[in-house]
């Protein structure tokens, strides 16, 4: 191929030279070039190597359907693989390189695959490496696992950067009446019509310029159209791809904001991911030209005919000197004429015989001829041609370029995203869109219209359809019929030459040949979906935009069916690839998920807390002193709490205000234990069940007054419990006069725990006489004032098993409360304690949390069955004893000691019987800790049959993940102060 830049033609700016590199070679192009056109202008023919056979590949197209010129752009952290050179705009300093080749695309050692290619047919790798007989006869994938890495390495395309992405991406949203996809003649006509009728219109164009395929025309002015659209108030979005259609007229767009700039503006995102909510969608996404399968139809220099026209008229690049155009339709004749006018020597092979062509005869037309073989390896030397019938050599034409046009396929992809199957139009040999009830209208060539006037008419009709459906107007309209060529197309998908074993490509990028399709048929993979997966037809970057129909036609031929009977594969979003960065948007790093902090977050950090994420909350984990490790620290903290006093931030607990005359009745229904007789000024620990009798959550409810309760939930279930209460009140018990309000953010909470906790509180409140054992018994609640007259709520509740209180205060006063509590705790040699020691203290007491209440556990399993009321009905009461839930061998809560008290174990350990260590065992350890009180490791968890069954029997703790095993002793879960003397002290 000898391609070159012309001195005339094109919409490029020849005064602005742009320098770029291709495989480290310094080249230049002009402003307005694509990378592909600049490469062609520099007569670069080979730009890639194919996936499997490593055959040299050139530029096949000039658009998104490109399956040859996939290159790597940029370097280091901005390296982007598999970029279509045809759609990448050239900029000064652009670095591009070929991929899938070693050492480079011109000389690639992997090319050896081409010569042993007959072994690499579809399914080769799996057939060869999976379950190799006799080693793995009929079973096993061990050998496959071994070879897979090597195979993937040999067959991969470009590789992505492993460095963090330096760019930012944005998510954006917009609304409109009508969104028009595509700015070709039809899309522009539709947008103008809709905008003139005062609709709010967005026009989306994937190219940098508006005009669609008119950009391939000599005398087209894109700026004129652009200005007209803008003057009508249409929002024109260029460099923006509508990659998917979704329910309710929602369209996904990818806007490439800075991909075309040498030095991206640091204030701009690289790309924007748009969600557009429209009332109507008009799709004028055009049509894609097909190639033809025949031997060696992939040699660099092969291109679709319209692509050559595009390079000529948009970029002023003539793609060859001696050009043969092979066609089965009328669309190539203007191209032929323009190419010969630009100085090429052109021959047209038309597979049809009875056709009338108006032509100025400056090129040769050979009617009834087809190409069947290209001679050459890295470039085209000549083309063997034959009569359309009986493929046999008639002539060999010396040439450097072969342009193909096997017909056009309307881009029905976006409609296909909505589950609308296209229908086959035999007259035009293509799939055309079917009608849909949704507010989506297809116009232009994506409707199968081949001439401009029809396209414009269809655009106006499409806009009228939208106006009618939106109730703006009621006007009759009609769409032109598909087609529009003077001479009918004659289907031509493959020219099959039986005397040669050369490869005839259907899908270029994945090296799927016509023989692969036939092999799939022989081996029974005849359904389209099987064919696709077996041969990987249509699964490359272009997703079958060029080759799918050819593959379908071959299979239809083999099955002796028509193409529509074989079916079509369903196109799914995205139309063209969407980078993961764009999908993620700003949700990276710290913003990957929301972060919740308590109002005393900074206070905790200032006082030495190491933080840990729980749910979404940052909570104090432990407060190390000097060089303390985590375990040094939590053991010290837990010891101090049991000995004197500790302060802990418990703000993350869910808090709900339950108010109204029926509040008591409501709580009595949702908690499994009795609430009807809870006195004002008292709190109660309660367990909520689900409808099916399994434990949902536990927490406390404090009766503040006759009709008002303050409910706490676990941190993890706070949102779930809130939604559940609302559901019950709004859908099931709609006559209850109760209001629930989440007050989690409004109240900050701290636990004051330990034998000295009462004394600490006495120092902190305005009226210490309220905080005595008599006035403030276990489970008592008071509303009072901290020093400085700050209103607070205190309940005498204990999670640690010690004398303990929970103090709540309005969030704004959180730091004041912490200062006050901590100042006074220090007087008693107290400490601040975190989640780790909180966990240690509660495990010692056998108190359950989310680790135990995992959605499989009943209240009886958790050892709390006696708390459930037998005098009332409540949510889950009917179901909690059903069938399996009351079986004798239920796994119930127990404590575990290692038999050898020096031994340690981990949560997740599987509990097994001796001599029967397998499967899921008979139980599991859910929480472990070193117990400072007992001086060794302890755990709680579940075992079938519970404590009574295993009391004096040694069990085995199996921890295969950590390769650990130990002997276990089953004990009561209440390992410290089982009678609760300390709590009531």
């Amino acid at each position: 191929m000898k391609s070159k830049r012309l001195n005339n033609l094109g919409k490029i700016d020849r005064d602005k030279t742009l320098n770029f590199t291709w495989d480290n070679k310094k080249l230049s192009g002009f402003e307005g070039d694509s990378l592909a056109s600049a490469l062609l202008a520099n007569n670069i023919g080979i730009v890639g190597r194919s996936f499997k056979y490593h055959r040299p590949r050139g530029i096949f197209s000039s658009g998104v359907e490109e399956s040859g010129a996939l290159v790597t752009i940029g370097s280091k952290d901005r390296r982007d693989p598999n970029v279509r050179a045809t759609t990448q705009e050239l900029f000064d300093g652009l670095k591009a390189s070929g991929q899938n080749a070693f050492p480079n695309v011109n000389f690639d050692l992997g090319g050896i695959n081409n010569y042993i290619g007959r072994f690499f047919a579809a399914g080769f790798y799996y057939k060869t490496f999976m379950g190799i007989p006799p080693f793995e006869w009929g079973k096993g994938t061990t050998i496959w696992m071994l070879f897979e890495k090597l195979i993937r390495k040999a067959a991969g395309m470009g590789s992505a950067s492993r460095l963090p992405d330096p760019d930012s991406y944005e998510h954006a949203h917009d609304f409109c009446d009508v969104i028009v996809v595509g700015s070709g003649p039809s899309g522009v006509a539709a947008a103008i019509e809709a905008a003139e009728k005062k609709l709010d219109v967005i026009l989306v164009e994937q190219d940098s310029l508006v005009g669609g395929n008119q950009l391939s025309e000599n005398d087209f002015s894109t700026s004129k159209i652009f200005n007209q659209l803008k003057s009508l108030g249409i929002k024109v979005m260029t460099r923006t791809t509508a990659f998917g259609l979704y329910d309710n007229c929602v369209v996904g767009l990818l806007e490439r904001v800075t991909d075309h700039l040498s030095i991206p503006d640091s204030t701009l995102p690289r790309q924007r991911f748009w969600t557009i909510r429209a009332k109507h969608i008009i799709v004028g996404s055009g049509a894609l030209e097909r190639h033809i399968a025949f031997n060696n139809n992939d040699i660099p220099g092969v291109m679709t005919a319209n692509a050559s026209k595009h390079y000529l008229n948009r970029y002023g690049v003539l793609t060859g000197e001696d050009i043969v155009i092979a066609t089965n339709n009328d669309s190539v004749y203007e191209t032929a004429s323009e190419l010969s006018e630009a100085g090429a020597n052109v021959t047209v092979l038309d597979s049809r015989t009875n056709i009338e062509i108006d032509s100025n005869k400056n090129f040769e037309i050979r009617k009834g001829f087809v190409p069947y073989n290209i001679n050459g390896t890295k470039k085209i030397d000549s083309l063997d041609i034959s009569k359309s019938e009986n493929i046999n050599k008639v002539d060999t034409i010396s040439c450097d370029q072969v342009l193909l046009s096997g017909g056009w396929s309307p881009a029905v992809h976006l409609l296909s995203h909505r589950g609308v199957k296209p229908k086959w139009d035999p007259q035009n040999a293509c799939f055309i869109p079917s009608d849909t009830k949704e507010n989506i209208t297809m116009i232009g060539s994506s409707r199968g219209l081949w001439n401009k006037d029809d396209c414009i008419a269809s655009g106006v009709a499409g806009a009228t359809d939208a106006l009618n459906r939106l109730g703006v107007s009621k006007t009759n309209y009609f769409f032109p019929k598909p087609g529009g060529w003077k001479n009918p197309i004659k289907p031509l998908y493959e020219v099959k030459y039986k005397k040669s074993r050369s490869k005839s490509f259907v899908d270029y990028q994945h090296d799927v040949t016509a023989d692969d399709v036939r092999l799939a048929h022989r081996e029974g993979f005849i359904s389209v979906e099987h064919l696709k997966r077996y041969t990987t037809l249509g699964m490359a970057n272009d997703q079958g935009k060029m080759g799918n129909i050819i593959g379908l036609s071959l299979m239809a031929d083999l099955l002796n069916k028509e193409i529509p009977e074989v079916g079509t594969t369903v196109f799914r979003p995205p139309y063209t690839p969407v980078p993961i960065g764009a999908l993620t948007g700003r949700n990276v790093g710290k913003h990957f998920r929301p972060l919740r902090v308590t109002p005393m977050h900074q206070w905790n950090i200032d006082h030495g807390a190491k933080m840990i994420e729980v749910g979404l909350y940052q909570r104090p984990w432990y407060y190390p002193k000097q060089n303390e490790t985590l375990s040094d620290s939590y053991i010290r903290e837990a010891t101090v709490v049991r000995k004197t006093v500790g302060i802990c931030d418990v703000t993350s607990l869910g808090k709900i205000a339950v108010q109204g005359p029926d509040a008591t009745e409501f709580l009595n229904r949702i908690y499994s234990n009795a609430f009807a007789k809870l006195q004002v000024g008292k709190a109660r620990y309660g367990i909520m069940l689900r409808d099916d009798g399994i434990v949902m959550d536990d927490g406390t409810s404090w009766r503040l007054s006759e009709n008002e309760y303050f409910m706490t939930t676990s941190t993890a279930a706070a949102a779930k419990v809130m939604a559940w209460l609302e559901e019950l009140l709004q859908t099931r018990w709609t006559n209850l006069k109760v209001n629930v309000t989440s007050v989690s953010e409004q109240w900050a909470g701290a636990a004051v725990a330990g034998p000295k906790s009462r004394e600490v509180l006495n120092e902190c409140v305005e009226d210490p006489s309220l905080i005595t054992n008599e006035n403030f018994p276990f489970m008592g609640v008071i509303s009072t004032f901290l020093k400085g007259n700050i209103p607070c709520r205190i309940a005498r509740i204990s999670f640690s098993g010690e004398l303990a209180f929970e103090v709540y205060i309005k969030s704004d006063f959180a730091n004041t409360m912490m200062d006050l509590l901590w100042e006074n705790a220090k007087k008693f040699n107290g400490c601040l304690y975190g989640l780790e020691s909180l966990g240690a203290l509660r495990v010692e007491k056998g108190h359950v949390t989310g680790a135990e209440l995992d959605g499989r556990v009943t209240i009886d399993d958790a050892g709390l069955g006696k708390m459930a009321s037998i005098k009332k009905s409540y949510i889950g009461s009917a179901m909690r004893k059903r069938g399996v839930l009351s079986a004798d061998n239920r796994e119930t809560l127990v404590g575990f000691f290692p038999t050898d008290l020096k031994e340690t174990f981990n949560a997740g350990t599987i509990v097994c019987e001796k001599n029967n260590i397998k499967g899921q065992g008979i139980g599991r350890i859910t929480s472990v800790t070193h117990s400072p009180e007992l001086g060794h490791w302890i755990g709680i968890g579940f075992v079938e049959g519970g404590l009574d069954k295993w009391k004096d029997i040694t069990l085995i703790g199996a921890d295969p993940v950590r390769n650990k095993q130990m002997n276990l002793k089953v004990v009561s879960p209440h390992m410290v102060d089982p009678t609760g003397e300390r709590m009531y002290a």
Partner: protein, 94 residues
């Protein structure tokens, strides 16, 4: 994307809502037998076409809604508050 017309907030993306469940279920009284509860909780129809379902406007007004949605096309025929009193308020304000 499903868009739900919340009677209080207007049309919003489904990502603002949480799916509840089958809105046609009449939950038995708390005193009812395990058999009745089993029927209500576990035996559900797998409807092809329009079904009544509950959605919670969890990132909005927190209203529980009864939505008539097609399981085939996601088309939504009607949306109303689950609570009968709220339903009346919405009706009266139309």
């Amino acid at each position: 994307m499903i868009r739900i017309n919340c009677p209080y907030c207007g049309e919003r993306d489904h990502s603002e809502f949480s799916y509840g469940g089958d809105a046609s279920i009449k939950y038995p009284s708390l005193e009812a037998s395990a058999k009745e509860w089993t029927e209500a909780i576990f035996f559900r129809k797998n409807i092809r076409g329009f079904q009544l379902e509950t959605w919670h406007h969890s990132n909005g007004c927190r209203m529980w809604l009864e939505v008539e949605r097609s399981t085939l096309t996601h088309e939504i025929k009607s949306v109303r508050p689950c609570h009968p009193d709220l339903q009346k308020v919405v009706e009266n304000n139309k």
